[in-house]
Every structure is written in structure tokens, then in C-alpha cells.
């Protein structure tokens, strides 16, 4: 037989019972050729382009799922940051553009379309300012559109004005979507060192320097890694745990690349335009399914609960091992390639927060070792904007100083206080509202200007 019996059974066991899937296939589309000073022209071109290039995308991805018997959990689209093609638009036009993108996403059958974004780490144009002014209403008026704002980078430093402005945007979005527990904020990410090849929602956007269309893939979720870690047993050394994770990461990355390439090739044929394969993102992204949890992997390593001393080290061990196994398996690795610790979307993390074992401050420490950021964290609706901005500044300082991506997806849930629960349903899950520090850093946060980049940004 071309394959050993155990090889076949091992793969079948992964696909049948261990949540082995492809977590994200994201089609990146360039909108640069949609630019115009006339809002109705921008909207018409954008709608037409998404429909034309992505019309068969979901059907093709479903065909590839069936061919290999591997589920693609999320089929999504990212577009060029809209501020790069709609800089001349007025505030109301941005809202209209968001609803057009929303309609296009619904028409082609994807649940999320990301890239309603701005890159403002070095400063804001007047178009960026109009975009930010329109953002709360744009998020409130749509269901599928995801926004992200890059406020900082290792090269540019942190745009403090943008961070404070974004805190205001968050609070207004929370208020406008208060009937659904401020769900608009679940589709808004603030970044330091945003990555254009990231296939994961809500922070994906298409690279302005990229081709017309590209397919990026996010590897399987934590379920298969959990099995590998559990099988090592409590006596195994750190090295043995790392080896076990590397082996499974190699396999899931190989499968991810195969499926991504196949989707890109077929879409190229059917859409009649070149669709290239981009990168495999080696991030572990959990879902609200019980065993599909990054927290469960950390606990399986031997922590009584997440938040115990050792948690940050365990996360470092996990993310490094996933990367080392995956990087040998794929020809192009990129995106975020970290681990997500979204409290609302991960049952083990959520329960650790509810038990009081995992705090916002511990989550912040975890993001320093290559988890991607403070993700899907509900905070009280009456959190002052300066406190929200301070949390973001801290998170971005970690990213800026360490040359890595960090992000904040904070949801100041309107009308809720610490200890309350919110329920967004589906992939977004449910979350306890975390307390935030009552100590104010208002004077510091409101100084304005930029925090300069670190010395190591001068590499030449």
C-alpha cells in the first residue's frame, strides 16, 4: 500500500474526531482599481469587483472541502484598506461604501468581509479623519463588514492621537449597537504592526502592494494540538511536549497549504483572472467548541487553570513549537503566526476569567510571547475613553518594542458592568465583562502626539 495503515488512520482520526480543519481561507482582493473621487463610482466598482472575482469562491472552497474530506471552517474575503481607495469620500459616503461591501459579502455568501481599514500609525489624512468619524455608524449599519485601524508600528512609533480617537470610536460604536451587547465592537480591531497577509477576521486586509487576488490560509485550530499534548502525558519534558506539537503542526500546515493552493488554482480558472496563493498563517485560532481551545492546550500542559504562574511560559512553548513545526512544512509562511487568546471565543479562557484566575493584566503579559493581542475582551460600558486608550497604548508598546504584531479587540459593553455576561452567539461566543483598573492615566494618555519608535527601528 502506498501509505502505511497507521498513516491513513492517523489522518482520518484527525479529520473525524479532533477538530482538524482549515481554520480560515481568505480571499484577498485589491480595490486599487476602484478608486474615484465620485462616491457612486467607487461603490459601483467595489460591488462589481467583489461579485466578479468572488462569485464562485464559496462554491469552489466547498468543492475542495469535499475532495479532501477536510472542513474549511471560515471562508472570508479581505480587501485593500478602503481609505486607500476612498480618500476623497465624505463621511456619509464611507457609511454607504460599508453597506455596499456588506451587500457584496452577503451576495457571494461569506460571513465576514474585512478591510474597512485605515493605516494611520504615521498620522491621519483628512480622508482618514472622515473615515474614523463614519466608522461607528458604518459598523452599526452592517453585519458582515470588519474594520481595523493600524495605530502603531516599530518603525513609526505609536500615534497617540489616533489611539485616543479610536477609544472614542469604540465607545460610540458600543452605544450605537447597544441593543446587541455592543456587537459592533467585535468587528473592530486596533493594531500595532498590522500584517497585510493575515487571513484572520476581524483584522484582515489585502496588501496594497499585493496582486489583484490572493488566497491566504490559516491552519487548523487547537483541537489536534490538544490531542498531541495530552498524549505526551504529565511526565514528558518541555522538549518532548515541544516535539509532539511540532510534529502535528507540520501535518496541519502541509494540509493547509495543499487546500489553499487548490482553492487559488481553481478560482483562477473559473474567475478568469490570476489568483495567487499567498501564505500559510501558523496561528492557532480557537472556537467556542469545548475542546477546540488554546486554553485547553495550556491546561493540558499541566496548569491547574489558565492564569497560574507558568501560563506565559506555556504559551511561549506552544507558539514557538507550532511555528517551528509549520515553517518547515510550507513554502510560504506569514500572516500573524501566533496564537489567539480570545476570551469570548475560547471556553477554557472564559471559565478561567469567570473563576478569577485570569486577569486583563495577565492576558497582556501573555500577548508579549506571541499571542496576538487582547482579543474579544468585554469591559464595562462606562470605562473612560482614557482608560481604553491606556490599555491600547500598553498593548501597542509591547508590539512596538518587540517588533511583533499586537492588537486590541475591546468591547466596552454599553450598560454592562464587571461581572455581567454578554452573549453574541455563534463564533463570537459569550464572555464575562472583565474589570478594568480604576486608577487613571488620563494626563499621560492625553498628552497627544506620537510615542517615538525604539532605537532598534534604525536597522540600516
Amino acid at each position: 500500500m502506498a501509505f502505511e495503515l497507521h498513516e491513513v488512520l492517523d489522518t482520518v482520526r484527525m479529520t473525524e474526531s479532533e477538530y482538524f480543519d482549515i481554520r480560515a481561507v481568505t480571499l484577498g482582493l485589491s480595490l486599487l482599481d476602484c478608486a474615484s473621487t465620485l462616491p457612486q463610482t467607487v461603490c459601483a466598482r467595489v460591488y462589481d469587483k467583489v461579485r466578479r472575482l468572488a462569485g464562485r469562491y464559496v462554491a469552489i472552497a466547498e468543492g475542495v472541502e469535499q475532495r479532501y474530506g477536510v472542513r474549511i471552517a471560515n471562508k472570508r474575503i479581505s480587501v485593500t484598506p478602503v481609505t486607500l481607495v476612498a480618500g476623497g469620500l465624505q463621511e456619509a459616503d464611507y457609511v454607504r461604501l460599508a453597506t455596499i461591501l456588506d451587500a457584496a459579502a452577503a451576495d457571494v455568501g461569506v460571513d465576514f468581509l474585512a478591510g474597512f481599514s485605515a493605516l494611520i500609525e504615521r498620522g491621519m489624512t483628512r480622508g482618514d479623519e472622515r473615515y474614523l468619524a463614519a466608522l461607528p455608524e458604518a459598523l452599526a449599519a452592517t453585519r458582515h463588514v470588519c474594520a481595523s485601524v493600524n495605530c502603531a508600528s516599530t518603525q513609526a512609533g505609536i500615534n497617540g492621537d489616533a489611539v485616543l480617537r479610536l477609544a472614542e470610536v469604540l465607545l460610540k460604536t458600543a452605544r450605537l449597537t447597544s441593543e446587541q451587547d455592543s456587537i459592533g465592537c467585535t468587528r473592530l480591531v486596533a493594531f500595532c504592526n498590522a500584517v497585510a497577509t493575515n487571513p484572520f477576521i476581524a483584522g484582515a486586509f489585502h496588501d496594497a502592494n499585493g496582486p489583484d487576488a490572493v488566497v491566504h490560509v490559516g491552519i487548523s485550530g487547537p483541537g489536534v494540538v490538544l490531542r498531541a499534548v495530552r498524549e505526551t502525558g504529565p511526565e514528558a519534558s518541555f522538549n518532548a511536549v515541544s516535539e509532539a506539537i511540532k510534529r502535528v503542526s507540520f501535518k496541519i500546515t502541509r494540509a493547509g497549504e495543499l487546500i489553499g493552493r487548490h482553492v487559488a488554482e481553481q478560482l483562477s480558472r473559473e474567475a478568469g483572472v490570476p489568483v495567487s496563493f499567498g501564505v500559510v498563517d501558523l496561528s492557532l485560532a480557537p472556537t467556542p467548541e469545548e475542546e477546540d481551545s488554546v486554553g485547553a492546550v495550556l491546561q493540558a500542559m499541566g496548569l491547574d487553570d489558565i492564569g497560574a504562574p507558568g501560563t506565559t511560559a506555556a504559551l511561549a512553548l506552544l507558539t514557538e513549537s507550532v511555528k517551528k513545526g509549520g515553517v518547515m512544512a510550507a513554502s510560504r509562511v506569514g500572516g500573524l503566526s501566533g496564537a489567539f487568546v480570545p476570551v469570548a471565543e475560547d471556553q477554557y479562557l472564559r471559565r478561567a476569567v469567570e473563576r478569577g484566575h485570569l486577569s486583563l493584566e495577565k492576558l497582556e503579559a501573555m500577548t508579549a510571547v506571541c499571542s496576538v493581542g487582547l482579543d474579544m475582551i468585554a469591559v464595562p460600558g462606562n470605562t473612560p475613553k482614557e482608560t481604553l486608550a491606556g490599555i491600547m497604548l500598553d498593548e501597542f508598546a509591547i508590539g512596538m518594542m518587540n517588533g511583533k504584531t499586537t492588537a486590541c479587540r475591546l468591547i466596552p459593553v454599553h450598560g454592562k458592568t464587571a461581572g455581567d455576561h454578554v452573549e453574541w452567539g455563534g463564533l463570537l461566543g459569550r464572555a464575562p465583562v472583565l474589570p478594568v483598573s480604576a486608577v487613571s492615566g488620563k494626563t499621560f494618555v492625553c498628552r497627544g502626539g506620537s510615542i517615538p519608535p525604539p532605537l532598534h527601528s534604525l536597522r540600516n
Binding site: M1, E7, E16, G63, Q66, R67, Y68, G69, R254, E257
Partner: protein, 130 residues
């Protein structure tokens, strides 16, 4: 394929009937067959598991035959009352698409009470081969 292992395996299987000439002839035939299999990358790996009962193999073989696929390898194990089978079928001369074969196999599995998973071999090749 490890030729030494193959030769040992053939010699063991022939037992008292093994002669140098016969072992060489059979091993060469197996290698040739494998070369043929490799030449067509368009293969499906069908995995079947469930409680054992008469007629499982026959039912699945019938579906694969009707699709016009050539069965290139089968291995099965019965442990107690539990049945596991792996079959490799060549799709290169098939009358049906892989999707149609998969649907037919799923229906057959539901009828005879076993789980049947049919996946294109590229998945296994990517995961288990450099």
C-alpha cells in the same frame, strides 16, 4: 518502497514454496504494480469503520466498480466485532466524479451501517510524504 523488506515479506508469504526465482518474479511484479499506481496521482483513499457484518466489502466494492474505478489496494482488519478497512481506488478511468463517488459511498455506508470516508490521496501524500 524498501526492496529488502519487500523481498523478505514475499519469501515469508511463500514459505516452503519460496525459491529465488519465484521471489524475484513476484517482487518485481509488485514493484511494477506500484510504479503503475504512482503514475496516476488521481487516487482516492476510502476508509471504512463500524461494527462488522457480512457484505460490507461487497457493497463498497460494488459502488467503486460502478463508478468505473480500479481498486489498487485493500487492507482490512476485524478486531472483535469491529471492522476497519482501507481501500485505494484509481480515479483516472472513472465514469463518475470524485464528488459523485463520495455521495454514493456515503449512502452505502448509511445503508449497511458503517462510516465511509473517501478523501483524495493528495491529502495523505502532503501530510505523510516529504
Amino acid at each position: 518502497m524498501d526492496i529488502r523488506r519487500l523481498v523478505d515479506h514475499v519469501a515469508d508469504a511463500l514459505g516452503a514454496d519460496a525459491s529465488e526465482e519465484r521471489v524475484e518474479k513476484i517482487a518485481a511484479a509488485i514493484l511494477e504494480a506500484n510504479r503503475d499506481n504512482r503514475s496516476s496521482g488521481d487516487q482516492v483513499i476510502i476508509t471504512v469503520y463500524g461494527y462488522d457484518k457480512p457484505g460490507i466489502l461487497a457493497a463498497i466494492t460494488q459502488v467503486v466498480f460502478e463508478a468505473g474505478c480500479n481498486i489498487t489496494d485493500v487492507t482490512q482488519q476485524v478486531l472483535g466485532s469491529y471492522f476497519t478497512m482501507i481501500m485505494i481506488a484509481d480515479l483516472s478511468g472513472a465514469r463518475q466524479s470524485l464528488a459523485e463517488l463520495q455521495s454514493a459511498l456515503t449512502r452505502t455506508g448509511e445503508r449497511v451501517g458503517v462510516r465511509i470516508i473517501a478523501q483524495h490521496q493528495e491529502l495523505f501524500a502532503r501530510i505523510h510524504r516529504p
